[in-house]
């Protein structure tokens, strides 16, 4: 197994708001391995962005880290000085933002915005930084970089701007790339191109990617591993195949069932009933229990730990406890699982 480049351990983050203290991230742990793409999946407000902002050290002013550690190069990022964090931010860990229309400075030439990042992290001359910026523009697929270098953001389309944002992220050869819903603001054809670009870059640079999204279609396309988040917790984590074809947590079932496929008839698209809980004084037990038709009594009372399903696959539901009654997952999920097992046995037979 490749080494871990990032380890998040028992991270908890809360926000002070007028309504009270919102526990946005509650005791999250995960590892990021060298060269892999880990997808953080979940609906809005489940804590996926907050998790990544903690890694970047870019939490809002009213946020407070209540505990845990984020290990990177044997350093706990939560306990570093601003100076150290600044050298890591954009240098070793870079971020791609959601909305390319607003994430570039409208009054600065895009070439300068890239070159500036190069110079922040590498002791190079102005000319060398420009050279590097031109290379990056070419790398992310901007044509005629020499000419485009001197243009302003408003002279580019949304997709091109996102390429430029990616070029900025790559400026200092980061080891970790955090992509916070990088395709949400783009139209579908552009999404595919940007996803391909990110995959391509990952192959070329060997960087690890944390991919935040609420779009399972995107996840299937890019992720090696998937962590499903709900109400500030990781409720299921595993290899992409395992989570997609053999999900164990009822919330993941719901998510997959609510994903339109070619077979679904558009009028009957499934939606998980209810709404996510508020995270001010969350109730004990599994936060998903009130919306979960398969919830056990235990799920309502005690927070379920992450039960191992395989060596790489874990899910936080009491359904996986040996004392739990046997429950059949919904039909479509069972179908997926069966198809998956067949595929796997074929594969192992072939080996």
């Amino acid at each position: 197994m490749p080494e871990n480049v990032l380890e998040v351990k028992h991270l908890s983050v809360s926000f002070d708001t007028y309504a009270g203290r919102v526990q946005a991230v509650r005791d999250i742990s995960f590892d990021l391995r060298k060269g892999e793409t880990l997808a953080l999946v979940g609906e809005s407000g489940c804590g996926k962005s907050v998790t990544c902002r903690s890694v970047m050290g870019l939490l809002a002013k009213n946020a407070k880290v209540d505990g845990g550690e984020i290990l990177f190069e044997n350093k706990d990022l939560l306990r570093q000085s601003n100076r150290v964090l600044r050298s890591i931010r954009g240098g070793k860990i870079a971020m791609i933002f959601q909305d390319p229309m607003t994430s570039l400075d409208p009054t600065m030439k895009i070439g300068k915005q890239i070159a500036e990042t190069v110079r922040l992290h590498k002791p190079v001359t102005r000319a060398a930084a420009k050279q590097r910026a031109l290379e990056l523009l070419a790398l992310v697929g901007i044509e005629e970089p020499e000419k485009r270098y001197h243009q302003y953001p408003h002279e580019f389309s949304g997709g091109q701007r996102q390429r430029i944002v990616i070029a900025i992220a790559l400026a200092a050869d980061p080891q970790i790339l955090i992509a916070d819903e990088p395709t949400t603001a783009l139209d579908v054809t552009m999404q595919a191109q940007i996803l391909d670009l990110i995959k391509d870059i990952q192959k070329k640079t060997g960087a690890s990617v944390i991919f935040i999204t609420h779009d399972l279609g995107v996840v299937a396309n890019v992720a090696d591993r998937v962590a499903v988040m709900y109400a500030g917790r990781i409720i299921e984590i595993g290899l992409a195949d395992e989570v997609f074809y053999d999900p164990r947590h009822p919330y993941t079932w719901g998510l997959l069932a609510s994903m339109p496929t070619l077979a679904t008839d558009s009028e009957t698209l499934y939606a998980i009933p209810g709404t996510p809980p508020t995270l001010i004084n969350p109730a004990p037990g599994d936060a998903f229990a009130p919306r979960n038709p398969w919830a056990l009594e235990a799920d309502r009372l005690v927070e379920p730990p992450l039960f191992p399903v395989t060596e790489t696959h874990f899910a936080a539901t009491w359904l996986l406890d040996e004392r739990a009654p046997k429950i059949e997952p919904p039909e479509n999920i069972a179908l997926r699982a069966r198809a998956f097992r067949e595929k796997q046995s074929e594969r192992s037979a072939a080996l």
């Binding site: 970047m56 890591i88 931010r89 607003t102």
Partner: protein, 303 residues
């Protein structure tokens, strides 16, 4: 095209002023009661007031096209142009200095305030801005005189005979209002800019807060300030009656007021045209400045 509109604007202003001014009660003669009918007629003839208003208007415009502003009725028949040339210099110099100094300091304070939003420095800067806006500049002027000229004896208390040194106190007094104004503007704008996505991206690049504020924030925050800056510059350049009086500066502000009181037609006209020309030019420059600062305007303009 642009120049044509500017000229048209000036022409309209000149025409309107001419007729409005002639509608004012009174005549340029301050001892009219004691003049005989014959004397009056003679004087009227001399200055051309015996002709019908419209004819005078045409004549005036004709002269204007030849660069002749007429002669002052108030100051012993001096040509208005010479008079203005003497008086304009100090006013323009003071105005420009005040705007430059005021805006620079104001912008700096505004940025500091925005960076420390709702903390001590912000409150301090905002308090300063409010005070600056509410205290009239003649109060500031007198205070400055008392502190720097009377008590400390560092700078001349007034007059226009000590080169740059005599401009310092009036400049300071005049700069309070642009300072307060730009501080307030920049703070509001900067607070918004600093919470925008591209600033977040700059943070994610690993850039320090101060550098972010000045290299990415300020330029974006400056755009709305430019709009108010133009007219402010003109109003300061065209002289402040009170401040010029307090410091005994031979500026244009005082002259203008006097010329209105004494129905000094040609001086009124000349000063009005001059002010308008300045305003039109400054607005033109403002638009150019816009284009320099905001590249998006450049493209729209080119289309």
């Amino acid at each position: 095209m642009r120049l044509f509109y500017m000229a048209l604007t000036l022409f309209i202003i000149a025409s309107v002023t001419f007729f409005l001014m002639n509608a004012l009660p009174g005549t340029p003669y301050n001892n009219q009661d004691r003049l005989t009918a014959a004397q009056l007629e003679m004087l009227n003839k001399k200055y051309g007031f015996d002709q019908p208003l419209f004819q005078r208007y045409i004549n005036y415009l004709k002269n204007l096209l030849h660069g002749d502003f007429g002669i002052s009725l108030q100051f012993s028949d001096q040509p208005v142009a010479t008079l203005l040339a003497q008086r304009m210099g100090p006013s323009i110099q003071l105005g420009l200095q005040a705007v430059l100094f005021g805006t620079l300091v104001g912008v700096f304070l505004g940025v500091i305030a925005a960076m420390h939003q709702n903390r001590f420095l912000d409150v301090f800067c905002s308090l300063f801005a409010i005070t600056g806006r509410s205290v009239p500049n003649f109060v500031v002027a007198v205070l400055l005189q008392y502190i720097f000229a009377v008590t400390l004896n560092w700078l001349p208390i007034g007059l226009w005979n000590d080169g740059f040194r005599s401009t310092i106190l009036p400049t300071l007094a005049l700069s309070i209002s642009p300072m307060a104004e730009s501080c307030r503007f920049i703070r509001t704008e900067m607070v918004e800019v600093l919470s925008s996505d591209y600033i977040e991206l700059a943070r994610a690049k690993g850039m320090g807060e101060i550098r972010i504020a000045f290299s990415h924030g300020l330029r974006n925050a400056l755009i709305p300030l430019i709009t108010v800056l133009g007219p402010m510059t003109v109003s300061l350049m065209t002289g402040s009656l009170v401040v010029e009086n307090i410091f005994a500066v031979p500026g244009i502000g005082e002259q203008f007021t006097k010329s209105i009181l004494s129905n000094d037609y040609y001086t009124i006209m000349a000063v009005t045209i001059l002010f308008s020309a300045l305003l039109v030019t400054v607005i033109f420059l403002t638009d150019i400045l816009y284009q320099i600062i905001d590249p998006r305007v450049r493209v729209e303009g080119a289309k």
